[in-house]
Amino acid sequence: MSDETASASPGVGEQFASVARSVYGRWAAVRDSELTVAVLTFLGVLLAPYVLVELPTQLGLPTEYIWYNSLITLTVVWAIFAIGYDLLLGFTGLLSFGHAMFWGTAAYAAGIFSAEVSGSPIAMLVVGTLTAVVVAWVIGWISLRRGGIYFAILTLAFGQMTYYIFLSPMSNITGGENGFNDVDLGLLFGIIDLGDPVPLIPDAFVASWMYAFAGVALVGAVVFGYRILNSPYGVVLRAIRENEQRAEFVGLNVWRYKLMSFILSGAFAGVAGSIYVIQREYVPIDNALRWTVSGDIVVITVLGGAGSLFGSLFGAGLYMYVANIVSGFPNIGTFWHMILGIVFVAVIVLLPNGIWGGITYARGLVVRSPEIVRNAPATTRRFVETFPDRARAWLDSLRRRIPGMGGGDDR
């Protein structure tokens, strides 16, 4: 009797363990796939208006404490901006204080293009992004001549220069300090008004085509960013962040990678800036080219967590909520920006991976799950233990594709 149970229970335990292992292994294999990330982002974009606006309203929370739809669209736009910025700060380790110039020039280019040539949102997006890429190329080429602190100073300086150029000498085109008022937004694909509700999808999820447009762009940005980061290219960028000299010594052209990273992040900023103008139908110079925009994106990315894409999404949401909702609170409302500054300093001192990193860490402490606390190494170890062949193949492919990693057949 007792022998039977004794012999049966390890069998059940083993079975359970093997099922658990295979389920965990399956999740570990799927979790980081691009499709999972895309689906999760898509669900997030779809559910955000419901969870943040509809649900609290139905629960009867006071309206001054909850989100509104256009703010969610704005957050999505800033999230795209933040992903691009994170690519530069979090993954390449370059601190730029001039990203307003890509966001802003894209906004002006898209706005002026809509007034002069065509108001098609797609065309505005393309023109804005291309402008930002060109600007980023030129500015990056000059600023990256000096590394480290000079890079931050120079990007700040060029950002201010662009601001002054658009403010004064070019005021007959840009509208000077009044901003550019003549944005003439057309129809999407020639048939869809962006203000209209989307058929078949309830308003509680997607209020308008505008949100759908921004949401699709965000999913695209996340997937694109994710693909870059998980490609050999992204690995090189991280290598540069960790040790620029060593990356140089293994034969990588560090300068070129840094420039490309700068241009890529400029392109993201351009996409975001163009969509911002499509939403606002107006280019306010203070929200386009002023240094405060550059400062805001730094705060968003660092607060959320530099070095993690979801951290930047989180940061954008947090910042937008504090800047637009908390600022209206009685008593502490006036101090919102200062409180944010204090939190920002506290995050830099205490949480090197931002609030998102802090949450991940705290969750690990509560769940007492070592693979979350010692995040990367343990999960990687588990992955390697579960799928030794796949891990070896992955390593080999990385070795092969990154020059100088000691791969057998360098191509």
Partner: protein, 335 residues
């Protein structure tokens, strides 16, 4: 208007604008050169100096902002401008000491990026605190005209032999700046204290092994830099309006001055600041100029004034592309 008069006017205005940049840049440059610390909160020290000077000099009425709500519709000591000029640099010097001890020192061993971010966060806090307390509006100084007996502090005087009049205050700004800068230059170049600081820049470990407490000269150096920024706030603010954002707007030209002059070089900062001031004022003074292209008999008009703010960046780019370490910077310091 004679040409000589115009040139004198241009020089005085240019030097005065440049003087403020020099005061800020010297602090930035020595902190960057000796302590290898990037201070994005240097503009905050300037703005603290400006507000402190304002409160010491006169009584201001606060219309919006929390101070008005809390029952201080007017605030200020009314001790006069000279008192502000004497007290504020010392006050900001002490602020600088505290900043070195509690903000900069814990960050010496952390990456440059963290130093920039933490000082940037500090700048936001200071700016937003002032914004919340005093409101977003601009305040202006009234400079008392006769304080030093017969010597006027402000008001127009005629330049001999020309028909030009200059605001005496501008000359005072140049004089005060020159005195302060000379003082700091002497301290750094000709005293034992300066010697220790310079040696510490080269090889801090060796200096420590020789039994010198290197942290003390560092904290004093930081304080001196901060004090200069505070002085800049008092001297520079009467010529423009004071609002919480002036700190950040002036930080960029100050950094450009450091980049143009070369890091760690006081003479470089003086040269860079003067150049930037002259370029800016020249572009404003030129105004609208009509060019005649003789070959084709073509007239075209170009207005330089809107480009005044842009000109200094062009200057910085040219210097950077031709001499990346700055005009008077040494090869070694440049990275």
């Amino acid at each position: 208007m004679s040409l000589v008069g115009d040139v004198i006017l241009l020089l005085v205005n240019g030097l005065q604008v440049g003087a403020i940049y020099v005061l800020l840049a010297i602090g930035l440059s020595i902190i960057l050169g000796t302590l290898k610390f990037v201070n994005f909160a240097h503009g905050a020290l300037y703005v603290v100096g400006a507000y402190a000077g304002l409160l010491i000099t006169q009584e201001i009425s606060i219309s919006n902002g929390k101070l008005a709500e809390w029952g201080f519709p007017t605030l200020g000591l009314e001790w006069g401008f000279l008192a502000a000029l004497a007290i504020v640099p010392l006050f900001v010097f002490v602020v600088g000491l505290a900043m070195e001890r509690f903000v900069a020192r814990p960050f010496y061993d952390r990456p440059d990026t963290d130093q920039i971010l933490v000082t940037f966060g500090l700048a936001i806090i200071v700016q937003e605190l002032l914004h919340a307390l005093f409101g977003g509006r601009s305040y202006s100084y009234d400079i008392p005209s006769n304080v030093l007996g017969s010597l006027p502090l402000s008001g127009p005087i005629a330049v001999p032999l020309t028909e030009v009049t200059i605001d005496v205050w501008r000359i005072w700004v140049i004089a005060i700046t020159a005195t302060l800068v000379l003082g700091v230059y002497v301290i750094v170049e000709y005293t034992d204290f300066g010697l220790v600081v310079k040696a510490g820049t080269r090889d801090p470990e060796m200096v420590r092994l020789l039994g010198i407490k290197i942290t003390r000269p560092y904290i004093v150096m930081f304080g001196i830099g901060a004090g200069l920024a505070g002085a800049a706030g008092v001297v520079g603010a009467p010529l423009s309006n004071i609002n919480p954002e002036i700190g950040t707007t002036i930080l960029v030209p100050a950094f450009l001055t450091v980049v143009i002059g070369g890091v760690g070089s006081i003479r470089g900062a003086i040269l860079g600041g003067t150049l930037i001031g002259l370029v800016q004022v020249t572009l404003i003074t030129l105004g609208s100029v009509t060019f005649l292209v003789r070959q084709v008999d073509f007239l075209f008009q170009f207005n330089f004034t809107p480009w005044a703010q842009v000109g200094i960046y062009v200057l910085a780019v040219v210097v950077l592309l031709t001499r990346p370490q700055g005009l008077l910077g040494s090869e070694e310091v440049s990275t």
